[in-house]
Symmetry: D2
């Protein structure tokens, strides 16, 4: 059985396992106060060329999203997201659980349209009765989006301008950040992205780490007592080394981008295979998630030997199916897939 | 530098590291749906002889406490805890963040007194105006407590009786469960403890696992849609294998109790060393945490070579200092400590 | 200056003022335990022919919506509402503040379409990954809606059927209930409406009372300890008489429907005036709120003598303007308006 | 039947009823934007000699407490209160429902001891691990307290000094403020009290108003968008006139203090009656609530003709009983009580 089901199906990059082993019996302070976590934070600051950025390691994506969003919003504010945004759809209402509304705007293949965002914000402040409404306090976007698409640098710059104009925050969910930045269509570096938002996170779980996401406050200071809030929100580990070490490894010798590029090469090859075999794509994705239209019969036979995610029905007889590559996808996996198609 | 600072200063039991390595590239479903998590749950059910118990793996202690407490309480209810209870003191208000009050009762070396608990509950229901008060809906205790002490089986049985009489829940925080059950003064097995509460958790992080706690609903069914609540509360990992595998290993061939017994042997030896050297204890602890009274001068010199936790001032010239042993404490560590005293 | 700005601009029906005066120095128990509140509840039960219905008096609409919704939902559930629903737009995120998501579906002139609702619910349960989603637990509708429109009885019955089929609740926001039931196009009585939902509220504030809304659990029992929850949510008054007395008066000798019918007669006359003067309506409303399209110049001159609400721009040179009648609107008000047009 | 059960058993001061009647059909803007509310706020600013103070009218005490506390605290902070504080005991956990912890300190006949408060705050900041604890962000006191006692001006000044020293807020719950300031033992005016705290509220419901409390930010600016937060917390009325008019009346010609003084005269007479008849008091109260020790037999016979509150058992055969006077207590009530004793 080969798996393209998601980018979190395998364990961790072997070098992380090695680092866990090498440091295993070393006594370290807990709760992120260890030297590996500090070193990882420092390496991230170097990578994004922001010596003053504040970096924290949290356990996973949902925890990160709700902790960052709720601590950066004022109580009268909500967060703008696309209708397809992860916080809107697949986090069990974790943001609302913190008391904040998700303010939905249309999704264009996963992307927000800056014109529509500005129209919404403007209208809000024109309406006399806005004292009884939830104020937009933040824009949440994903890079790459849940549909595998990417914001061009120019669009990101426009969204960030909007935020500064209206005293809002821009937060980038980078659960798959590496696979976005390594895309052949990406037009920015991590440093550039870091300078076009208030806060973003560097996805670990889906990009080679076993657990952990690195929250980076690159454009705004971290909320006061952020550490206490991470504890209160249950996103902290006693053994902080478990998230610090992976990022220390991933940000040594460019490993993070190296394995991300590998995943993108695998995705490009996967696209080629499907194209050659005559399959169409539900929409164009330049990153590690590919959305292929499969006849339902083919889907059923393929399912016996390949693991993937059925996304949604395409029509009566076809489905949209997601194939995801990752740092651990191999050419052998792809060769096998090719034979099965 | 040797460390007795806490039981979470080292990484993980070597067999867990081996299991991570052995399974690393195996593709597995996420979010706790993997075979290792299922197997670990099954082994736990066997260990406590409760085939119908429901078992879930969460990331850490604070997350576990707030998720279990808030999902088992009704919105008009609060949770009874000792003034020294972890949820009352050291979880940054995580329980209150879920909207529930912690109802404090006196701590007797970390323990609740069942007489006082019953008096409180009774009074509550006698007072006519209790419609404007927070109803006690759960008793929270720790085994062992934050002060290293243990509830005798008979006391636990009385607390559980009270809960059933007043339609409340009994929840045992077992962050250090192994070190409690392995104590020379423990008078019950894990199976007996499991049959004297509605829900408890088996501490992983402090007992050899890198992360993770196993929540066991042994006396009550799990709250409906508990999985969704774990997601909403940010206590879930995409790579559920990271918590499932450690418990699979710890519950194979009795490893969990074996390493707990080791920690207790180390603690007994540590007590002997301090006693022999003429030091007194702030209170009697039969588990892995020992609270020694040190002259402040001694504390300062010792600090240069040994890591420990300063608990509280004892008097003008002395302090209460906590020394914790764990699964990874060695005789060499103790010999070194002895020489330094 | 005459006012059609809203239905809450004047004080209270004179008979309520008389009743306040007549009972003013009578000592009464607090928190809704007084005889007037009990009597009002009994009269409401009679009016809807549900002897077992549970009735509570809360201070205002937003308080009522968030208290009812959050106490009837389970923590993993959200509430379905139209995009124009009051809870979605104009309650400052009060529902989200209780931790629950508002699940938006399209508004058709303020109304939900049962087909779309069923499609949404069905899809939800087909999707494998719904454990990470917010479960729909309630349908919230307004009668009449925020746009003045009404659900036909048949549509209400279909929505209620859906709720029973999928184990959900149906909640009707009746802030303007009288003005809906008294409409010439209404096809049901209050008793019929009460039998087609789990819970609804009878608007007081906008229908002659100074404050207060009567929550009626007609199809489901009230949540356990609902009184405690009303206190916790800040929707209770020490002087419960202040909400009990108005409902006692309004439900004596059919006053509630009598004043509602008066408001509808005034609205019909208002429609006639605008029609005769050649104005168009932005949409058809059979209740006390009328949405007229006015040239912006006219709007500016009229504004000097008449109070109304500017709803939204209609086009470059016209606006949609809301004129609301109420129990206190007089023929003199309308004659004056006619002269000014 | 005469009633000393509480100070909220009768309706409203007759002048308020008159003002309601006189203004009843006047169309007014909603949500506190009416002229009476503005005028009442202005009169309050005059009374406390703070032209820049911000004044808001909320529906009742619990709503006011939880809204003020939660909007002035940062998310990592809790509020210090005496164990007898109303927010700790009788508000159904409303403060915790907003996500904040009540940090309890001992009650000395209802009062906090500034030494104990400072010791607590100091210890907090000495403890290294305070990042995992709830930070004290506010001191909550009641004037008069729930036990009828009063803070001397000097104590209040010390508590306020502490707050400024540690960057905390001081909030005074004045549900019965008039009865405190009118006490023969009070050593300050409302203006002096206003200058010794960040925020306080002037109790309306218990001091002659039918509903409503006036929140006064006299030492700190109101939290940003406080109006939106009042809406979100359900403490706002559409007919804001219902709370604005009473305060306009109460702050005209010194009515608020006049009726408060009356209640205190009645309380002094009541004390005299009990003393003369040989009854003892459970503790000394200089305000409108008196706590008398009654033999249980006497309690039972008296109960048939007088309404009062049984507070708690005094011993096997006696109870502590609360008798409250108010603006509406008459000499006839007291004469009758005297005869019955």
């Amino acid at each position: 059985m080969i798996s393209f089901a998601s980018d979190y199906t395998t364990g961790m990059h072997p070098r992380i396992l090695e680092a866990y082993a090498a440091t295993n019996l070393e006594p370290l302070p807990g709760y992120g106060m260890d030297a590996y976590s500090s070193r990882a934070a420092e390496k991230i600051r170097l990578a994004i060329q922001k010596p003053e950025a504040e970096v924290f390691f949290l356990t996973g994506g949902t925890q990160t999203n709700e902790t960052v969003i709720s601590t950066m919003l004022e109580p009268w504010q909500g967060v703008i997201a696309a209708t397809t945004g992860h916080i809107q759809v697949h986090e069990a209402g974790a943001v609302e659980y913190t008391g904040h509304k998700v303010l939905c705007l249309p999704s264009h293949a996963g992307l927000l349209d800056p014109e529509e965002v500005e129209a919404y914000i403007k209208t809000f402040y024109q309406d006399e009765s806005h004292d009884h409404m939830v104020f937009p306090g933040m824009i949440y976007i994903s890079y790459p989006t849940e549909m595998g698409t990417l914001y061009p640098k120019e669009t990101l710059a426009r969204l960030y301008d909007l935020c500064r104009k209206y005293d809002m925050k821009l937060f980038i969910d980078g659960a798959r950040l590496g696979y976005g930045l390594a895309s052949l269509e990406a037009d920015m570096t991590m440093a550039e992205l870091a300078s076009l938002c208030d806060v973003f996170y560097i996805g670990g779980t889906k990009v080679g780490a076993p657990i952990g996401e690195a929250v980076v406050f690159s454009g705004s200071p971290a909320p006061r007592h952020f550490i206490t809030m991470v504890k209160q929100h249950g996103a902290m580990l006693a053994k902080g080394r478990m998230t610090g070490i992976p990022f220390d490894v991933l940000f040594t010798d460019g490993l993070y981008m190296e394995i991300s590029q590998h995943a993108i090469q695998m995705a490009e090859r996967l696209k080629e295979i499907f194209r050659t075999k005559g399959y169409a794509f539900a929409w164009k994705s330049p990153t590690n998630q590919q959305f292929v239209i499969l006849p339902n019969e083919k889907l059923e036979t393929l399912r016996k030997e390949v693991d993937f995610s059925v996304w949604e029905p395409a029509d009566e007889t076809h489905s949209v199916v997601r194939f995801a590559t990752s740092w651990s996808t191999t050419m052998e996996d792809l060769d096998l897939l090719e034979q099965l198609l």
